[in-house]
Amino acid sequence: MKTKTSQDIVQFLDTDFFLKWYRRYRDIRAEQEAVLQRREGLFSQLSMLRFQSESIRQKAETLLMRAGQWEEKSALALSKLADLENDSFQAVSDFEKQRSKASGAWADRDCVDQDVESLRQKIFLVQSRMKAAEKYHSDDVDRMRDELNAARAHLEARLQQLQVADRRMKNEENKRTAIWSRVETRWSDSLRASLARSEYLYLAKRDRALAETLLYSADQEQKRDQTLREQLKKISIQEHGLEDALQTHLFEAEKDFDCILLSEFLYWPSSDDVGSAYAVPLRRDQQLHNVDLEPLRVYRVARTRGVEFLEPILLDGAEIGPDPRLTAFFGRSA
């Protein structure tokens, strides 16, 4: 490899031969950038898709599990409903029996009550007749008094019987009311169980339908996932093709330009200084070097440090002779 001056390199960088090569280099790099961006875009789409698909499946599974729980609840409600129906039949039958008992007690009490009433009328009648007999000093007064006493004693006994019949009637009526209340509770429970069975079944159906929709959607996402993976494969092939093209292009440059070209810098040994070389960056980089690198500008690098430290080179040459500025400055100071 021949040594070069910075002027040689500047002139070479301006030739059509080099500029044609450089345009092709930039085109390949631009294509690589575009492909890389496309691949990153596809990759993030794929990741997103997988995440979505997984999330949809999990949601569908949750819904299916919940649908199962609703179905179980509905079956329990159905079983409870059957028990309640049986119970309510029994309660109605008990009520019928009790109603009959209460009616009997009421009839018994009514019978005693009528008896009491007729005894009261009889006593009233005997008293009236006795008063008349006493007025006329009849011989029947004593007989009537006996009759009155007997009627009063009878009334007293019947009044006690009436109290007993009254208590019995109220007792039976209370029992009837309690049984009716039980009947009503059973009917209400049975209605609740019947409605629960139906509503839980509806909820189970709804969750199942939703889960099926989600599973269908997850399947569709899986198909898209497949498509994206195929696209990624194609991109990967394209990437390899471009990398091969770039390596060939760089290899040709190293041979044709008689330089060292590893990846992003062209190097020529310096004819002015054996310890240094000239480096020409092919890409801009304003971040990681000691200077803001501009493409196709000539920098000097030391053999040992390489691009760790780049010096911009002087194209117009350094100063020659005394500097009038200093003369003026020191003259002024003096």
């Binding site: 304003q286 070097h289 000691n290 200077v291 803001d292 501009e294 430290f309 010096e311 911009p312 002087l314 117009d316 350094a318 100063e319 500097d323 500025r325 200093l326 400055f329």
Partner: protein, 151 residues
């Protein structure tokens, strides 16, 4: 940042006064631009200093420490003003903390890059040093004046 913008900005800085066009071209190439967000610390008091800086856009504040450790603002610098020159001259640790007060672009000249400039333009380097000395002399005069007032 474009080279032309860098050159134009540096040509307005007191640091570059009296430099010839070729010198300005080279020293501009040796400045490296860095971006900061509001509140970012550019360097802290006590850091090892190996660069000087010129504000390209935005604004920075120079902060000192009080006796009880509290920070107070010493100065506020805008475009084309420079700072960090003390450490590059005396090779000592940074004497103050500098922080961006808004989105700021700074041009940094490392000691090594200044050396490269000195190798290529001895007179130009002398002028850069003279320019730094002028600013330091002005600050020293100001300090003396303030001290004299207090005494």
């Amino acid at each position: 940042m474009k080279d032309a913008d860098k050159r134009e900005l540096l040509s307005c800085s007191a640091l570059m006064e009296n430099l010839l066009p070729a010198e300005l071209v080279m020293i501009s190439d040796l400045f490296h631009h860095r971006d900061f967000r509001a509140g970012d610390i550019i360097f802290r008091e006590g850091d090892v200093g190996e660069s000087l800086f010129v504000v390209a856009s935005g604004e920075v504040e120079v902060l000192g420490h009080g006796a009880s450790g509290e920070m107070y603002r010493v100065d506020l610098l805008g475009p084309s003003q420079f700072f960090g020159e003390l450490s590059i001259i005396d090779k000592e640790y940074r004497s103050a903390t500098v922080r961006a007060t808004k989105t700021t672009t700074i041009l940094e000249l490392s000691s090594e890059n200044l050396h490269t400039f000195a190798k290529n333009f001895r007179n130009g380097f002398t002028w850069v040093v003279v320019n730094i000395a002028r600013v330091l002399a002005a600050r020293l005069r100001e300090c003396n004046r303030m001290l004299a007032k207090k005494m």
